[in-house]
């Protein structure tokens, strides 16, 4: 019964979404392709996902691969900077007092604002896009790590104090493992953000990828391909989050 519910109810949700989409395209916005037309005009991109006929005219699998690669680089950079930063913020009161205000100040800045700055600094679109992804995606990691460190039970820290563990042993054997669940939540949220930023950064830099493709097809009036890109972005975002959820569950089972 519950198994059936879990199969049927999401299907009902998807069906009503498709119905709404059809309704809008039929009644309100004639320029918006219906689901069926979207499929017909996009089938080649989906069925031959890795064809390539020029910079922007490529199968959706190939485009998604470019985007994923870019996100992976930006995300890796976000973790590499954000995690140690979070530990420093959580461990040192001085560091926190010095840098917490500036972090709260930088955090709400949109990727659309960072990207032009990235272009000014790096002169090339690829590093600018990676820079933007990293800068926007790292905040949940920074903040969750800091919170995780501060949330470590004093009882666990007292064990280390009684044993007079060295700073390094304290960090590796107690502080890091104790805050890992929080850190991982940060990593998961950061991955979601990194994927969110990819479209904006590819749009503005015009680099090949799902977001770049979306923007180019909008400019060439192929609206069905916008929808194809949107669906692809959603599907990949969903898959990434599920994947992180699985890894997280394994982590927390320890």
């Amino acid at each position: 019964m519950t198994r059936l519910r879990r199969m049927v109810l999401p299907a009902v949700g998807i069906a009503s979404m498709l119905a709404l989409w059809s309704l809008v395209s039929a009644a309100i916005a004639p320029d918006l392709p219906s689901p069926l037309r979207t499929w017909e005009e996009s089938r080649r991109y989906v069925l031959e996902p890795f064809f390539k006929e020029g910079e922007m005219n490529q199968g959706i699998g190939r485009l998604a691969f470019y985007s994923l690669l870019r996100v992976a680089k930006g995300y890796a950079l976000a973790l590499a900077i954000g995690t140690p930063l979070g530990f420093l913020l959580g461990l040192s009161r001085t560091f926190r007092d010095a840098f917490d205000p500036i972090i709260q100040f930088l955090r709400p800045i949109s990727p659309l604002a960072w990207l032009p700055l990235g272009l000014v600094v790096f002169q090339r679109s690829e590093p600018a896009a990676i820079f933007t992804i990293a800068l926007c995606a790292m905040w949940p990691t920074v903040i969750n790590t800091a919170v995780g460190v501060r949330a470590i039970s004093p009882e666990h820290l007292n064990v280390g104090r009684v044993l007079r563990l060295s700073r390094w042993t304290m960090l590796t054997r107690i502080v890091v493992p104790a805050s890992l669940p929080h850190v991982f939540t940060g990593w998961r949220l950061s991955l979601g953000l990194a994927w969110l930023v990819i479209v904006a950064s590819e749009m503005l830099t015009g680099t090949p990828g799902v977001g770049g493709f979306l923007w180019q097809e909008y400019n060439s009036l192929v609206y069905s391909h916008i929808l194809l890109s949107v669906v692809t972005i959603g599907a990949i975002g969903f898959a990434l989050d599920r994947l992180m959820g699985l890894v997280e569950a394994r982590f927390k089972a320890v």
């Binding site: 039970s153 004093p154 009882e155 666990h156 007292n158 064990v159 104090r161 009684v162 044993l163 007079r164 563990l165 042993t169 054997r173 107690i174 493992p177 104790a178 890992l180 320890v254």
Partner: protein, 287 residues
């Protein structure tokens, strides 16, 4: 000069409703090899006293000296078995105990440290569970790990903070007997803090009552004139046992230091390291 000297130690905490004086001048002397119990009601400041002796807290006034050296911070020579076990959940039993062994025997080869760890785990009867994590263990098994870790510190003074208060009566009795055996084997100097009068008598050479706070002080030493090893079954029949029990209960009742008018300060502060609302187990009632 005694091995452990506690002189005029006071400690208070700031709370939402003003300051709460937990300890109001505690004095205690302990010679090497002795095992002393401190009995007190919940909230009387037992955990605060242990934390002070462990060096996890600093006294407001007074001083604590171990073998002449003033206690200024925590260290493995004053090993603690914490009330909440405080095992590290991401480590196996062997890693939890090994952390202490590695810290205390840092100069020794890894194989020797490993052997020492296994020896301690066997001493508390957990050989079969060495690879398990705390969450896979029962409360009693967790406390055994905590005892093994406390011993792994090779403390000159072993501090036991209500080690069995979270356990059911059967497990508690078993572990009390084991602790008695272990302490006889290792000849530890120890302080057991408890709210259980029978536990105090069973395990210690003498018992001090900690008066109900605020401003708790230690009552006079009540000797436990019972030969060792002590056999739980025959204990309650012996006159020495009954005498000690009467004296302790009397001491707990009479050594009130605080006028009733100050009692409203009692719940003012609830810092983490105070005893959190545990019922007095059995013994402190009338009779």
């Amino acid at each position: 000069m005694a091995f452990l000297e506690v002189r005029g130690v006071t400690k208070g905490f700031e709370g939402a409703r003003g300051r709460r004086q937990v300890l109001g001048g505690v004095d205690l002397e302990l010679e090497e090899g002795a095992f002393v119990a401190i009995v007190g009601a919940s909230g009387s400041g037992k955990t605060t006293l242990v934390s002070l002796m462990a060096g996890l807290l600093a006294p407001d006034a007074g001083e604590i000296r171990l073998d002449g050296a003033r206690v200024t911070g925590p260290g493995p020579e004053r090993g603690v078995v914490f009330q909440q076990y405080s095992l590290l959940p991401w480590m196996t039993v062997r890693e939890n105990v090994g952390l202490a062994v590695d810290a205390v025997r840092a100069g020794q080869p890894a194989a020797a440290r490993r052997a020492r760890t296994d020896e301690l785990i066997a001493l508390v009867g957990l050989g079969a569970a060495a690879g398990k994590r705390p969450r896979e263990l029962s409360g009693g098994m967790r406390q055994r790990v905590a005892v093994a870790r406390g011993l792994a510190m090779e403390p000159r003074l072993l501090l036991l903070d209500e080690p069995f208060s979270a356990l059911d009566a059967l497990t508690r009795a078993t572990l009390q007997d084991e602790l008695q055996r272990i302490c006889a084997t290792t000849r530890s100097t120890g302080i057991l803090v408890t709210n259980d009068v029978d536990e105090a008598i069973l395990l210690s050479d003498r018992v001090h009552a900690l008066t109900p706070g605020p401003g708790a002080v230690l009552g006079p030493a009540i000797p436990v004139a019972l030969p060792r090893p002590r056999e739980r079954r025959h204990l309650s029949l012996s006159p020495a046992y009954q005498q000690a029990r009467r004296d302790i209960v009397l001491s707990l009742r009479t050594c009130r230091t605080t006028p009733a008018s100050e009692a409203h300060h009692e719940r003012a502060a609830a810092p983490r390291d105070l005893d959190a609302g545990q019922e007095l187990s059995g013994a402190l009632g009338p009779g």
